[in-house]
Symmetry: C2
Subunit: 223 residues, 2 copies
DNA sequence: ACCTGAACACCGTTCAAGT
DNA sequence: ACCTGAACACCGTTCAAGT
């Protein structure tokens, strides 16, 4: 790019001080390394090698390894929130939007399993004051709460405390995601999509037997 | 214990070859170390020190560190299964037993968080053929399946595929447990017991609004 | 049979030194 | 201001050697 004399081209031009934005490059390299070698195989040496940079260069841009993982989690929560929102709004909100948001949740976990693992794993202190991370995290959660409040306003969802409802539903999809990624649903030939659809149906009508629920084709959506 | 001459008493008598059952002692020491220093702080050196034994002595009884963690998980699944069964039978089976089993699930996770983390964490290969572990694990799952089949036989639960129902319910309680232990429910002042009870209620009747569910004090348990 | 202790190949992190 | 390279204190694992 700049004007040096006849640079001997390596794959990445080590012209200036290596990068204009090493911070961002380190983040991306960390994600690639995790995808290749797992979260335990994320070593600062491997990250540095991928960029042709010393292993201690990272410390100019991140406090330590945990901070690097936090950055990965933050990036994950950001795109996660957008995915949930896209599901909700893409299906035109309402009960269809609610269901689409649930599917989007599980799909995100299946499509970005490593991001999801880092986001909800224990690679860093969640309690240690980390305002940026908790903000992104609760931002994603808020999408669900907002949707529930809207549905309650339309009389489509029970008028319970929205926080409790949201925690309940979040736990459900989180559980499906975790069991699908790392748990026994992984290799048992379970159709995750079908299970998720089933779970969302049961979310609407419950599991109780009896004329009020059993045999009804569509969930109760009076009014 | 045995007859040596005037043993200079250390805390643990290093009389013979240290232990009659080092394997079991190592397992317990591992659990204690994890409880004290976290799952990442589990080092073979720390385990050995706790027993006054070399750090390589472990390799006589476990293939490697992952095998030690697997043993912890196996022990966890065994007592977990018993806890679920105690809830189910202690409450006299039926719907009350079902609810008690759900509470027992979450309570186990809250009372043995480190065991739970190891059981469902990624400290070892779950796919790598490990028959003993998967047997214990699916044994715990089977308690739930059996209960559901029994409830279906009594007409108390929808006649869906019991496996799907079990996966759905398992995901829910697993999600609550994970969010309560490591997630944002941890320090938000959320009453986990109340949330679990609420979740189990919603499990019965669903979240839909309308006369068929809203306002009814007790879940539908016709017949 | 069971355990030790040195050795090996790895880690994350620090810090003086280079440009 | 940004990065290097040596050094430090840790790891898990192996293996000859002791009893």
């Amino acid at each position: 790019m700049a004007s040096h004399r006849a640079p001997r081209l390596a794959k990445k031009p080590p012209d200036q001080y290596h990068h204009g934005d090493l911070q961002r490059a380190l983040l991306q390299a960390a994600v690639r390394t995790i995808q290749k070698h797992g979260i335990a195989g994320l070593t600062l040496r491997a990250v540095g090698e991928e960029l042709g940079v010393s292993r201690s260069a990272l410390y100019r841009h991140f406090a330590d390894k945990a901070a690097l993982l936090e950055a990965v989690a933050r990036e994950g929560f950001r795109t996660f929130r957008l995915a949930l929102l896209a599901g909700w709004e893409g299906a035109g909100r309402g009960l269809a939007g609610f269901d689409a948001m649930g599917m989007a949740y599980v799909h995100f976990a299946l499509e970005h399993p490593w991001h999801y693992r880092v986001m909800f794993g224990s690679g860093f202190d969640r309690s240690a004051s980390n305002p940026e991370l908790t903000e992104e995290s609760s931002g994603a959660f808020q999408v669900l709460v907002d949707a529930l409040v809207e549905l309650q306003g339309q009389g489509l969802v029970r008028s319970d405390d929205p926080q409790s409802l949201a925690h309940f539903i979040w736990a459900l999809v989180h559980g499906i995601a975790m069991l699908a990624i790392d748990g026994p649903l992984q290799h048992d030939g379970v159709d995750i999509d079908a299970l998720t659809r089933f779970a969302i149906e049961r979310l609407h009508t419950g599991i109780a037997a009896g004329p009020s629920a059993e045999g009804r084709a569509t969930p109760v959506t009076l009014r």
